[in-house]
Each structure stands twice: as C-alpha cells, then as structure tokens.
C-alpha cells in the first residue's frame, strides 16, 4: 500500500509539471470540440491526434490523449443535452432527459450534473484502476463468450425498465434495432447479410448515424413545422447552477452509475456501450417517480453520464494490466504507447512503474482539468440557446451531415442518418419510443456473435451457459429483473397510447 502511494506520488510529480498541465488543458479543449461534433467521438479525437503525439515524450503524449478522450466524452453529452444530438452511442440516453431539461430551461443544471457526474465517475475509476488493476484484469479475462452472452441478455432485459410507454411498442422497437444490427458481414460465417451489394454496409450500420438521425434529425423535423418557433432562452446565472434538490437527487445515480459503469467497463469488448442504457433503466426502476423519466429527470442525466465515464476508465484496466486492446479506443491508446517503444503487457506495472503510475496520474489530471474547464464553460455553452431557432436548425443540420460524413469519410453514413431521421419522425408521430432501437442496434451483433461463439466453443451444447458460475449468476439476476418488470404489467393494464414523443408534438 505504502509503495503504491509512493509510486502514485511519483506519478503525480510527473503529471503536475507545468508543461504537462498545459498539454492536458490543450487536450481537453480539443477533445471537447471534437466531441461536440456529432459523429466525432473519443475514438475519432484520439485517432486524429495520434500522429501529432509521435514527436512528444510518452507521458505528454498520454496526457494529451487522455485529455482528448475525456474531453470528447464530455463534449458528446453537451450536444445531447443542448440539441438532442448524441455525438456517440454512450450519450443516447443523455439525450432523452437532458434535452427535456433544456426545453424546460434547465440546460445549465443538466450540463453541470453531467460534468460533476463524469468527474466523480472518473475519480472512482482511477482509484479502482490504481488499487486493483491486476486483480480485476484476471477477473475480466474470465469473461468468455458465455458470460458475455449472459451480460448482454441482462442488458436486453433492462429494456423493460427503459420506457414508460407501451411495453409492446418498446419491444417492437428493440426488435427493429436488433434487426438493423443484423446488417453487414456475419463474423461467424462470412456471409454478407442484407447489404444489397453496398460495400459500405458490409461493416453494418453504425450507431452514430442511426442515433443522430433518430434523435437529432427527427427532432428538427418535428419542431420545424411548429407555428411558434422555440423561444430563445436567456437563463440567469442562478438558473445555470444545479439546485440543492438536483444535487440530492443525483448523488445516488452518480454513485450507482460509477460502480456499474466501472464493472461493465473492465470486461473486454465493446459491452461498455450498454452501461449508460443499463444505468438509465436501473435509475428509472429505483425512482419513486418513474413517470418523470423522459420528461427531464435529472437522475436520467446523472446516472448514464457517470456510468459511461466510469466504463471508459474501466476499459483501461485490461489494457494496462494485460496489454490487450479490448476495444477500438484502447487499441489506439496502445498504439500510442507502443510508438514510444513501450511494450504493454502483463509485466508493464513491475517493469515500468513510472509509466504506469504516470499514466494513472495523468488520467486523473485530465479528469480534474476537464471539470475546471467545463463548469465555467456551461455558461458559455448555454449561450448557444440564445441563437434564434431559424438560424440554429440549419446549422445543426449542416453539422449533423458534416459529423456523420467524417465518421468514416463516406456519404453512406449521411444517407443512413437521413433515412433514420425520416423513420424516427414517422415513428414518433405514431407514438413509438426510439431509445430501444439504439439499444437493440448496439446489442444485436454482439449478442448474436457471443451466443454463436459460445455454441462453437461447446460444440452446440447449451449446457455451457449453466456450467459456468459467472454466466449462470448473471442469467438468474437478469431473469429476476425481468420478472420484477413484468409484474405490474400483469396486474395492471397500461395505457397504450401514452408516449413522450407523441404528447409533446400533438399538443
């Protein structure tokens, strides 16, 4: 323990040099900017800056990239809250309640809570990384395909908690999302499914264009025709700061989100995307007033934002402790380290403690810098709402097109975004909730792949799911959650027509 502390102090002494701090600031600013572009998320931000770090020393390179990473995560939530445009998959749930809060003139508290929640989650994640990285990493390795399947099934069951509308319509949307996820090359067999000879569809439909279309474009289509354009907001300073009640409501979601996100984040693979969805579902379930969710509940911002940030930090556990790239972002980070001649792997912590602890400390510095930078910037961001809507929406549209184009430099993503915008518009008119589509799309390919991988491992024997302790525990937990969700449905009939999107637009 004492040694850990000393090492950490050594790390901080490196990270607190003025030059390093300057790069951290610089990284955070670029990251926030990049994250605010719909389509350009943390991955794009890091990839874009990676070449620029080749000439820097490793610590500075990592500080810069960590700053970009955190900045981009935070920037994504900014556009979700202010304009209902999710910059990346993790901010889809933030859109729902965050934008509802903006419409009520409470964009300031939403942004502030997102920043505070992210900061707390980041701190929690760094502490977890620091104290238990090797232990957690060996635990994470025990997650094979069967465990993954169980985890994703749990994510699917959370659907039941996600929306206040008709259960049947929620399910329909989830299945639609899962089906969208079937597009593209099937990893198990090499068949290209439903791509209609379009090469770009071979990799499947990206979550970013779909989310931007479903949430952002559909919102503009619905709002543009209103007789009275949305009023320009001129919030006072008092309205920018979260109230005591806001903070009190957010404490629980932030803590739970951090823990949940971190646990999901350390699991190798891309499962960390579901952490914000799961957090939202849990908060809605635990809330005494679930009907507030979807209508501007601050818990619906606090929970998912914390979960997503903690998951992002958690993802560094297997990367640092094992040296394996578990997801796209960590793959780029690994490359950034390797370019400096450092070979990450199981021996990294023993052999190059200065680098490991420097990394941990600089990640933390990035986190602090981001909070210091962004809390005052809340006021600045909210000023975007002062722009009259007639000017705002064409610019948002142009940004969405630009952002989706730059996801992979192809117009295919822009077409997908436009189609999804139209589909989302019609679906909202018919009273369907759209978040399940996004969750389905994220889960679909992963769930199918891990299920079929498990069967390939066992030679077609389903017993593999009950023979493995972690998998069976998670399956049972998921079934209990599902049962709890279905109980009120069986005992009390629901109003089929109630839906957030519909109510708002018809009135």
């Amino acid at each position: 323990m004492g040694e850990t502390f000393n090492s950490l102090m050594m790390g901080f002494s490196v990270a607190f040099q003025p030059e390093v701090l300057m790069y951290a600031f610089f990284g955070c600013i670029i990251g926030t900017l990049v994250g605010m572009m719909p389509g350009l998320g943390p991955l794009a931000g890091i990839s874009l800056l990676l070449p620029a770090t080749f000439g820097l020393n490793p610590i500075i390179a990592i500080v810069l990239l960590a700053g970009v990473y955190y900045g981009a995560m935070y920037g994504g939530s900014t556009t979700s809250i202010l304009m209902r445009i999710p910059g990346e998959a993790a901010s889809v749930m933030t859109c729902v309640d965050g934008y509802a809060m903006t419409q009520q003139g409470r964009a300031g508290p939403a942004l502030a809570i997102a920043a505070i929640g992210s900061f707390f989650a980041g701190t929690f994640g760094v502490i977890g990384l620091m104290l238990m990285a090797p232990t957690l990493a060996s635990f994470a390795l025990r997650f094979g395909p069967p465990e993954y399947t169980a985890l994703l099934l749990m994510g699917l069951f959370v659907l039941a908690y996600m929306s206040g509308g008709s259960m049947l319509k929620t399910l329909a949307m989830a299945v639609l999302g899962l089906l969208l996820g079937m597009i593209g090359i099937d990893v198990m067999s090499g068949y290209t499914r439903f791509s209609f000879d379009i090469v770009e569809l071979g990799d499947g439909v990206g979550i970013v264009p779909v989310a931007v279309g479903l949430f952002g474009i559909s919102e503009i289509l619905l709002t543009a025709g209103q007789v009275d354009p949305p009023k320009v907001q001129q919030p006072t300073l008092r309205q920018l700061i979260p109230t005591k009640a806001d903070l009190k409501l957010s404490v629980g979601p932030i803590m739970r989100g951090s823990l949940l996100g971190f646990m999901i984040g350390i699991i190798p693979g891309s499962a960390h995307i579901i952490s914000s969805f799961v957090s939202y579902g849990i908060e809605r379930r635990l809330s005494k007033h679930p009907e507030r969710f979807g209508n501007g509940a601050i818990e619906g911002v606090a929970g998912p934002e914390s979960a997503n940030n903690a998951a992002a930090t958690g993802a560094f556990v297997p990367m640092l402790a094992l040296g394996i790239p578990t997801g796209p972002v960590t793959a780029v980070m690994l490359a950034a380290i390797m370019v400096h001649g450092i070979l990450p792997g199981p021996m990294l912590i023993q052999q190059q403690p200065d680098l490991f602890w420097g990394f941990v400390a600089s990640m933390y510095v990035g986190n602090v810098v981001l909070l210091v930078l962004n809390l005052p910037m809340v006021g600045l961001f909210v000023n975007l709402l002062r722009i009259p809507y007639a000017y705002l929406y064409p610019c948002i549209l142009a940004f969405c097109i630009l952002g989706c184009y730059s996801v992979s430099n192809s117009t295919m993503d822009v077409w997908i975004m436009l189609v999804m915008g139209g589909v989302g518009y019609v679906l909202r008119k018919f009273g369907y909730d759209l978040a399940p589509v996004a969750l389905g799309l994220v889960l679909g390919p992963m769930l199918e792949l891990s299920l079929r991988q498990s069967l390939a491992m066992s030679g077609g024997d389903y017993a593999i799911f009950v023979q493995r302790p972690i998998a069976v525990t998670m399956l049972v937990m998921g079934l209990i959650l599902l049962g709890l969700a279905l109980k009120p449905l069986i005992f009390k009939s629901k109003d089929w027509r109630s839906s957030v999107g519909l109510d708002k637009t018809i009135d």
């Binding site: 025990r142 094979g144 068949y191 090469v199 793959a331 490359a335 990450p344 199981p346 192809s410 991988q453």
Partner: protein, 325 residues
C-alpha cells in the same frame, strides 16, 4: 503546442501550394495521400505512418495518412483501386488484400475490387505468425498438439480474427495439412482473439510476434511452432512448420500499392522514394519500436511475392469453402 501550431501552419501552406502547382509536370508536385484501409493503431497504420514520414523527407512533399477502415480492408482497398491513377493516392495494404476478392467469389458477391486493379510498389514489412497454446494445455511440441487433437477429435478449439481473416488462414493451412478437426471461434479482430486465448476460453490461436511476445515472456502463452520460412529471430527455440515436416508458410505483410494505370515514370519515382525511405535511420527506429520487422522488396520481387501469396491463399479459401451449417 508549438509543434502543433507549426504543423497546422504547414498544412495550410500545403493546401495553398497544392492549388498553386496543380498544373506542374514533375511528380510529386503536391501532397500525396496514403490510404490505410484499417483504423488507426493497427498493423497497417503503425507501418504506414513511419513510411509516410520517411517519404515526406524524400519527396519534400507532405504525405498524409487517410484511414478508410471497413469490411476487413475492402473499402480502403477499393477506394485506391478506383482512384485517379496519378500517383497521388497510394495504398498501404495488408496480406488480406489477396483474400478478400477470393471470399467475394466464394459468396458470389460483386467484388469491391480485383487484384489486377492495383500495381505493387514495394513490400515494407512481413512477419510470420506463431502457433500459441494456453499454458494449461499439456502440450509442448507440434507433435503433441497433433496427437492430442487426434485423441479428442473436434474437442480442441482455436480463436481467430474472423472467418477468412489474417489469423484464420494459417490455422486452416495447418489443420488441412495435418488432417485435423478443431472448433473454430471467430472474433472481431486480433485483440479479441488473443483475449479469448488468454482467458482460456479456447485452447490455441495463431498470433503475430508483436502481439504475443509480452504474454509469452510472462508465461501466459506457450509458443509451439511458426509459419515462417525460417526461425524467427526473437523466437530462436521455436521450430518452423517446414522443420516439422509440413510445407506451410504464412506471413502477415504490409506493402505499398498504387492504381494499376499509374504512369510508369511516376511508379519509378515512387519506387526510388520508398527505397530511400526504408533506409532512413529514423524509419528503422520507429519500426523497431512497434516490433515491425522491415522486409523490403522492390516492385518486381514484390509482385512475384504477392502472386505466390495470392495463389496459396486462394487455395486455402477453396479448401475451407463456406463454413457453418
């Protein structure tokens, strides 16, 4: 900070220059774009970036990397195959470039590109893969692996980077040569495939030396045999398949291509440029850092190399056929 400012000023100047000298005759008269058909951080990317920097010095023109990932490299490969053949669009491709058209044929897909749309310029690096097993598997030599697999037919399993992927091909070569059956667990990339093996969810996998070295040193993986034509310098104790009596060779390589209709004079400039670039000490240093062995071949030899590799892999794809039910 200063560095980045300098870079952006440079980029603006380059953009201005590029408009100004468009009509100029000598190649290269403006910025060159090197397409990497994979995301940043992959083998193609970490090979492409030092190459681009070294070429920049030779040509005195900016050489920028453009990542066009998608469909296992098919999208970026196709983009260059169909690009304007003026030498300003180059491709840093991996060995998968020869497999993709074969897989397209197998599934009756409209091919995104064909190999004869691309002219090889130079091979930059090549690395053999190594068969590694989980240390809990009681085998130390290839003979024992084969014996164990014969004893439990269809029980041993291996993970790969995906069906017909860079790590699937060598495994199928081996299984076909040794007449074995194993369970195949495809994943979405080299990283996930390695993770499955480290977690003990599969028993073996093929792995690139750069990816496995630290795990082998930590005792988390056991190397058995290599697909290289000769023993790997970092794995002197690991025998080759050839030594063990199986005539199979497999390298993951990275090489530079241009659209096939690029004028001969331009190709010549590019070839000379790459030859100088690979001898740049800074380039050598960068490649050593990312554990990528430089294996330079000029266009004629590289073309033969690609042909041989394409034939070999096409045969494997035919043997594998469509997998699944």
């Amino acid at each position: 900070m200063k560095n980045i400012v300098k870079r952006s000023v440079f980029a603006v100047m380059a953009a201005v220059a590029c408009v100004a000298v468009q009509a100029q005759e000598t190649f290269p008269g403006r910025a060159i774009s090197m397409v990497v058909p994979f995301p940043p951080g992959g083998v193609a990317d970490v090979t492409g970036r030092p190459t681009a920097i070294a070429l920049e010095k030779v040509f005195k023109q900016p050489v920028s990397i453009s990542n066009r990932p998608g469909a296992g490299g098919a999208i970026g490969n196709a983009a260059v195959a169909n690009a304007k053949p003026d030498g300003y669009t180059l491709l840093m491709a991996l060995s998968s470039i020869t497999v993709i058209p074969e897989a397209d044929k197998l599934f009756n897909r409209k091919p995104a590109y064909t190999l004869d749309q691309l002219a090889p310029i130079a091979l930059i690096s090549a690395d053999p893969v190594i068969l590694v097993v989980h240390p809990s598997l009681p085998v130390k030599t290839l003979k024992e692996v084969i014996a164990l697999s014969r004893k439990q037919p269809g029980e041993l399993s291996y993970s790969t980077s995906g069906v017909y992927g860079a790590l699937h091909m060598p495994m199928e070569m081996f299984l076909h040569a040794a007449q074995l059956k194993m369970r195949h667990v495809p994943t979405t990339g080299g990283g996930p495939a390695l993770t499955q093996l480290l977690g003990g969810h599969v028993t073996m996998s093929a792995g690139g030396p750069a990816a496995i070295t630290s795990h082998v040193k930590a005792g988390k993986l056991r190397p058995i045999v290599t697909w290289g034509a000769e023993r790997h310098p970092n794995y002197k104790e690991v025998p080759t398949f050839k030594e063990q009596g199986y005539d199979i060779v497999y390298y993951i390589w990275a090489g530079l291509f241009a659209p096939v209709a690029t004028p001969e004079s331009v190709i010549k400039v590019l070839r000379d440029g790459v030859r100088q670039a690979v001898n740049d000490p800074e380039f050598k240093n960068q490649m050593a850092k990312v554990n990528s062995p430089i294996n330079y071949l000029d266009a004629p030899d590289f073309a033969k190399y690609v042909d041989a590799d394409a034939k070999r892999l096409a045969a494997v794809v035919k043997v594998v056929g469509k997998v699944g039910p």
